[in-house]
Homo-oligomer: 549 residues x 2
């Protein structure tokens, strides 16, 4: 080995060695980062005003740098170019998406998780993390299904079964639920060796059906579309059923949709209830859905990615009643369990259901091992369950109850603010802690329903543009943030969607003062920018209408 090669090797060793003293270079960088992060988190702005196209310039070199960079130089780059230009999802004024603040203790605990670098796919690379993850699954199972202590004693650490699967998020959780349901329906029977082995084409032929459908309300999360595509069912077979005025599945229309399927020899694979729709936070009538699923004999899945933790609340858990009858339930820990991004779960009522997707290999996941990887869609996975365990332990049921109750209370306060404000119209009232509204001044609100359909449509289109422009400008300004979506509003023409602001009240620090500020900023944008012209167009339109009368 040459001397230069030896020197390089020494540097390499140093990179992989833990700094002994806090005053070493790496120790100092380490402390500086902690300090910078704390400073950033204390700032209550959402983002700096800089366009994405402009930011892209800093991330456009497209080959791996040839030579190493000093850690200190790199962190300087990160600080100026990445941290400063990221979105402050923890800011109290960021009330537009489901990503919110984290309890501060998650930061040092994440460090433990990263440093240990366990791989939960197998016991050999995770040891105590495996029983810990099984415990978290049991706790969440218990929260939903409330089985007996005996039940949990039997199943919690059973090597051949799993009460659920941990995964990176709700999309994989929903996909895993439908995958298990599909394989369960087409399990080995008679001369058929099961869909896992023989595939979907032969499965349909064996059971003589023309298709397999998933029934859900039109407020379904888009991950269900992905799941039906991936699993080979086809998006056509995700049957989106109309909702009532409160964005809950219409049971009559569900029954009609089911009869339509039967006529075409399409089997219902699963009925999916939503506990907290992504866009409006509403909860489907889970009891009625459970009854219906039992009646037609199909898998009942509840997507409680958002609303699951409502079960912590003595006051509000009844909203989800019927969830305990679901065959499977999705819950995201990185949403209302306040765990960092990348932690989802799917729980199964029957601990044997996941056997339908069991996998083994020679070098890991051997039959009879306690390796968690034999029942998951993902392979290698980090020890995120530790952070869920930490949240459940440190915050406790009562702490989560407080958070849930507070969020729902805040959403109601915000709805009142909107109702009382001369410039806004509440579109969907909050059932959990999500609501939608739009810019629509009082003088217009009273006249809009009386316009003829074509004119109503034209005015709504102009209001859509206002909402869109305001949301965009507000996001770019970076002081506060709400998201936007399009949905049907029962009081206007049923077949048209309107554009609305969407607000998610999950950060306990987003108090009424901040919510008022959100509205005031939106008013200011209309008042002080070109958006005003759109409002003028509406005025002119209304005037010409009145003149023509």
């Amino acid at each position: 080995m040459t001397e230069a090669a030896l020197a390089n090797l020494k540097n390499l060793y140093r990179i992989f060695t833990v700094p002994e003293a806090p005053d070493s270079t790496l120790g100092r960088v380490d402390q500086a980062i902690s300090q910078d992060v704390a400073t950033f988190l204390q700032k209550h702005i959402v983002a700096l005003e800089r366009s994405l196209e402009d930011i892209e310039k800093d991330f456009s070199a497209c080959s791996v740098p040839e030579d190493p960079t000093f850690v200190s130089d790199y962190t300087e780059f990160l600080k100026n170019k990445l941290v400063a230009q990221s979105v402050h999802t923890a800011a109290p004024g960021f009330v537009g998406h489901m990503t919110s603040a984290l309890p501060y203790f998650m930061l040092p605990l994440s460090r433990i998780m990263t440093a240990l670098n366990q791989n939960l796919v197998k016991v050999e690379t995770s040891k105590a993390f495996t029983p810990l993850e099984r415990q978290v699954l049991a706790m969440m199972h218990n929260l939903i299904y409330r089985e007996s202590e005996d039940f949990y004693r039997t199943w919690i650490h059973d090597s051949r079964h799993a009460l659920g699967a941990f995964c990176s998020g709700g999309t994989i959780a929903n996909t895993t639920a439908l995958w298990a349901a599909r394989n369960q329906l087409f399990k080995p029977q008679g001369g058929f060796r099961g869909i896992a082995e023989e595939g979907l084409f032969k499965a349909y032929q064996y059971l003589q059906c023309q298709g397999l459908a998933v029934l859900v309300s039109r407020r379904a999360h888009y991950s269900l579309k992905k799941a039906t595509d991936v699993l080979g069912l086809g998006r056509d077979n995700l049957i989106l059923v109309d909702t009532d005025d409160d964005n809950r599945i219409d049971m009559e229309k569900l029954k009609t949709a089911y009869l339509g399927l039967v006529k075409n020899n399409i089997r219902p694979l699963a009925l999916v209830g939503i506990a907290g729709t992504t866009e409006t936070g509403h909860v489907d009538p889970l009891e009625a859905m459970a009854d219906f699923a039992a009646e037609i004999g199909c898998h009942f899945h509840v997507d409680a990615a958002w609303g699951g933790p409502t079960l912590f609340s003595t006051t509000h858990r009844a909203l989800l009643s019927g969830i305990e009858r679901a065959d499977s339930v999705t819950v995201d820990a990185h949403k209302q369990l306040y765990v960092p991004m990348g932690a989802g779960m799917v729980l199964f009522k029957d601990p044997k259901t996941l056997s339908a997707i069991e996998h083994h290999a020679n070098y890991i996941l051997r039959l009879g091992s306690k390796d968690l990887g034999s029942h998951t869609l993902e392979g290698s996975r980090p020890g995120m369950a530790m952070l869920v365990h930490a949240g459940l332990s440190i915050i406790g049921r009562k702490g989560y109850e407080l958070l849930i109750d507070l969020g729902i209370e805040r959403a109601r306060q915000f709805a009142e603010l909107i109702n009382a404000h001369p410039n806004f119209e509440l579109i969907t009232r909050p059932e959990l802690n999500i609501l939608t509204y739009r810019f629509n001044p009082e003088w217009l609100q009273s006249r809009l329903p009386r316009l003829v359909p074509e004119q109503q449509l034209r005015v709504n289109q102009l209001l859509d543009q206002i909402v869109l422009e305001v949301q965009k400008r507000q996001r770019e300004a970076g002081k506060t943030f709400v998201s936007r979506t399009r949905l049907r509003a029962s009081k206007y023409a049923q077949d048209e969607q309107i554009t609305v602001f969407r607000s998610v009240l999950a950060n306990p620090l987003s108090d009424e003062k901040i919510l008022s500020a959100v509205l005031e900023e939106q008013c200011a944008i209309v008042r002080e920018t070109e958006v005003q012209r759109l409002l003028d167009q509406i005025r002119i339109l209304l005037k010409s209408t009145e003149n023509s009368l």
Copy 2:
């Protein structure tokens, strides 16, 4: 609000607030954790000797704790019950799995990632992280495909396309590749609206085929079995082709397998080459496979989850030549890019391929947005790309080259150690940095090939038991760790598998001294425990054979 409720609320606010001073309670906990983690990482043992059943006792409570716990009490619990009982994957003596040491700088940088809590599914919750992830995908694409600067300038930040998809790991990466290939093959054509919409059953009917197969060597990672199951193809249609003596796909047998499919009206969906098999680290003849895939007109995917970073090495990159002709390539960053668990990627040669799995929704992933989530199987995802970016920048191509070269060199040294040792037999010679071997003393090695088949089988079964017992005891003792698997060895009866130790040399601190210690510990286990009796049984068996001659 009652006074008690107000007090609770105050506590809640405190949890979500960043500690101002380093000498606050949380600040102190924070520092103590950093110190504990450093101490743990400096210990060079793999695990403490305690059985899993025993550890499970600490993780068996199955309801969410009712009351909150102090952070300091909880971290004390973690330290004693979790950290102490986890696997020290970074220990230089842990040479059995693909999880290895992390560069120390990953720890403070992970803190930035966690604190910012970005969600990469959309720009609105990630801003600068979106161009950063696109840049990382471009850099990795460039490493594999070496397209022109113009190519990257065109595609890197193109809103309608993606050069690849970031995901939690190789399993999702492989599934995404086959999903895109499936949807591309059955894209909208004539009266058929495409498999994404109509599903697999109608797709097969439209193209009049009886099945869709994936061809790969029998050394394939088990994720491909999962993928064929999930995607509806059926595991039967994962065609495992025999390998040559060096665990590379046998091209003649591949051609025979293909002809068998054609006869049964089964279409080849994809041919999968492996660049670094999980069990033995061998690389398939990628050039020949690329030729064959072109000949039969199917998607060519390369699973380079392990071996991809070999491309950094000027000396060894030729081992993977042909990879640049693949339609898609899987690379895991949490393997040989030394990034914490949970970072995989799939890259596509043609930036338009991922359009086959494109998804949109009303509130995010709107058409024309730069949201990364429209081309990924997962939904919400953390900003792991930042850590890949950090690795590529701080270590640089030359640093990774050094790591790759060192690993391969170490594996060769270890192979020499094994060959020179009187008690071990090398089973698969290392091509990259993975090898397999077994306990098989010299006096037995020379006689084993001359035994009649039944006796050879019997002896091999006893040797299997020795390897199994030694591996188990070594793992439990926790000083060093190798894994085990079962595979065919060309020098013994071809249809039987034998049990072998498997060693992965990726930690630069796993030097020759440590590798010698691994072997010595294995010898000591045979010598000093009941395993010795298995060896005695072999001696008796051989003696009776000789007497009978």
